[in-house]
């Protein structure tokens, strides 16, 4: 008996959408994983992603250049994280308060600049990132799922082994993880803790900004004030659910992306459920995830704690 061709087509479409949807989450999650392992509990992921998406939109609308737009997205995300590092690593503001404040700043500023940008005219649209057109894309089933994707999707997946290698197989990675667990040790050795935390934050912010840039350039042809729609928060949840390990985070991201892909296909799947049920699924899933979590000891011991020399 041969499989129902329509069913296969829908399944392929859902899985292709899953891989596509994973991309921005994966960029951000791999970046923020590095930031969190350095002990900075960045709660401004949502804001950094929003700023990345907004910067990408402005640059592509003005110049029409997609590479420039992605660079701008990374810079914007890094700037938000830089402010977070300044507030937390230098000024020693509570990590939660700093992150909340930056999210507020990001949503306020992008909304204002966006309205100022489009005031008195219709919103410019752009043509975004297109999927690769190469021989592998025509392969049956696997072609559309894995290979008829945008080049950045492949980059995002490559980031998983790269970040794993960085964290677990390099001296810098070891020291970075040590900052999240036991900063005194490195401080005694003369390592500049704040500088390392700044570096980790910049990396995380740039990756999150890039994710925001991909989000808008691949999924939309215009900017919407709430385009990130909580994805930055899902990234934070994915890192917790993935127990701060690259592979675990990858799995968590895949689950969220699959649920979102189902929401996109709610009509085609014809389950007769309102589409809000699917839209809400990732948030409910993450709550269930978090209640089932028992391996709390995998959290970096000093995550989110302000480090002051000589105080504990």
């Amino acid at each position: 008996m041969s499989p129902d061709p329509q069913g296969v087509a829908i399944a392929v479409s859902v899985l292709a959408a899953t891989v596509r949807t994973m991309t921005p989450l994966l960029f951000s999650a791999m970046g923020e994983l590095v930031t969190q392992r350095a002990g900075i509990w960045n709660m401004a992921v949502e804001g950094a992603m929003l700023c990345g998406a907004f910067a990408a939109y402005i640059v592509v609308a003005v110049t029409g250049s997609l590479p420039l737009a992605l660079v701008a997205a990374a810079i914007a995300g890094a700037l938000v994280s830089l402010m977070n590092a300044f507030l937390t690593a230098t000024l020693k503001v509570d990590h939660f308060v700093a992150g909340l404040a930056l999210n507020m700043l990001a949503s306020g500023l992008t909304l204002f600049w966006f309205r100022a940008f489009i005031s008195g005219r219709s919103q410019p649209t752009f043509s975004g990132l297109t999927p690769m057109d190469w021989p592998l894309a025509d392969a049956p089933v696997l072609g559309p799922i894995l290979f008829a994707q945008r080049p950045l999707t492949l980059v995002a997946f490559l980031c998983v082994p790269l970040v794993w290698f960085l964290l677990y197989r390099t001296r810098h990675g070891l020291e970075l993880r040590c900052i999240g667990e036991n900063p005194e040790v490195l401080d005694f050795k003369g390592v500049n803790i704040a500088a390392r935390q700044y570096a980790a934050s910049l990396f995380g912010g740039a990756m999150t900004g890039l994710g925001g840039g991909f989000l808008i350039l691949a999924f939309s042809d215009r900017f919407l004030p709430d385009i990130t729609a909580g994805r930055g928060w899902l990234v934070v949840v994915a890192i917790i659910a993935g127990a701060w390990r690259p592979l675990g985070v990858l799995v968590a991201v895949a689950v969220f992306a699959f649920l979102e892909a189902l929401a996109i296909h709610a009509q085609v799947l014809g389950l007769g459920l309102p589409h809000q049920v699917f839209l809400v699924a990732p948030y409910i899933a993450s709550l269930v995830f978090l209640t089932r979590l028992r391996h709390r000891d995998s959290q970096p011991a000093r995550l989110g704690e302000v480090y002051r020399r000589g105080e504990r």
Binding site: A101, G108, F112, G230, Q276, V280, L293, R296
Partner: protein, 357 residues
Amino acid sequence: MIRIEREPAPSATALVIAHSGALIAGLALSAGLVAASGFDPVEAFSAIWRGAVGSRSALIGSLVKATPLILTGLAAAVAFRARLWSIGQEGQVYAGAMAGWLAVTLAPWAPAALLIPMALIFAVAGGAGLGAVASGLRTRYGVNEIISTVMLNYVVIYLLSWLLSDGPWGEVAATISYQQSPPAPEAARLPTLDERGRLHIGFPIALLASLSCAILIARTPLGFEIRAMGGNPEALRRRGVDIRRLTLIVMALSGALAGLAGVGETLGVTHRLRGDELYGLGYAGVVIGLIGGLRPLGVALAGLFFGGLANGAIFMSVLSDAPAALAQAIQGVLLICILCGGVAARTRLRRTVSHVA
């Protein structure tokens, strides 16, 4: 030689100076922002001023805008004082509005004397209930309250979206879904205080709530426990205080305040249930709570300030091209400045004598 030292308990004078400095710096930065975006800051700020307090009607509009902000600001302040970083005010505003609307749909025939108290009680219960869920997730399952409240916000917002589109509460006559309910019956409109019927009783309720919260936090045993939970939870546990129960009380109280903000908007301003009118009130409350220094009376002042700003910004956007979203941008800028100001107040420069000969 000058040394930088940390001062854990800054004096009131230092705090006032730092706060005023931060306020001035924030407004200057905002003016720079307006200028950099190609608008005239003097024109923009004078338009905001006139729109906020320029006439009796403008002033009343500002008080109406301030009402939900004071309530959500209090909701944030109460939770943050206990170091519970709940940002569930957004969802609790929606929950309060929905629960209030539920009361209206249950008894549309009821006279105002019955319907209004019922709607208010439902709203309080709705907001408090949602707060209790986040509290349970924290105390029972160890789920961080920031993340759980953000997730719950989205759940509630999508629930309202369904109720107003495919669900039972949408406007039946509408061919396109506008994501709104039919208008509320006359009896379900909150009583008003001015002759044109704009300033609803939510405003005095918000002021009363500020006063009550101030007394609660400063003068009652519960307030002491809330402050102690923020300062030294371990000592509180040693004293035999049930932290679970305390968390539940704080989260429910915070939710109840936010729920009141929601029903005030629905039955006092829009007179029907709509999602877009509620959007952002809870998040603004987080900003206002922090800018108000987590003190109820400070929150009331900050709420009045930002209510005026929001109302004035609408007037400004009518006069010039500058978008009303400037109000949100200024909120964000001011919050960052006040955070840095708080750090400045806790830092002192001390001249030290070197003992090395």
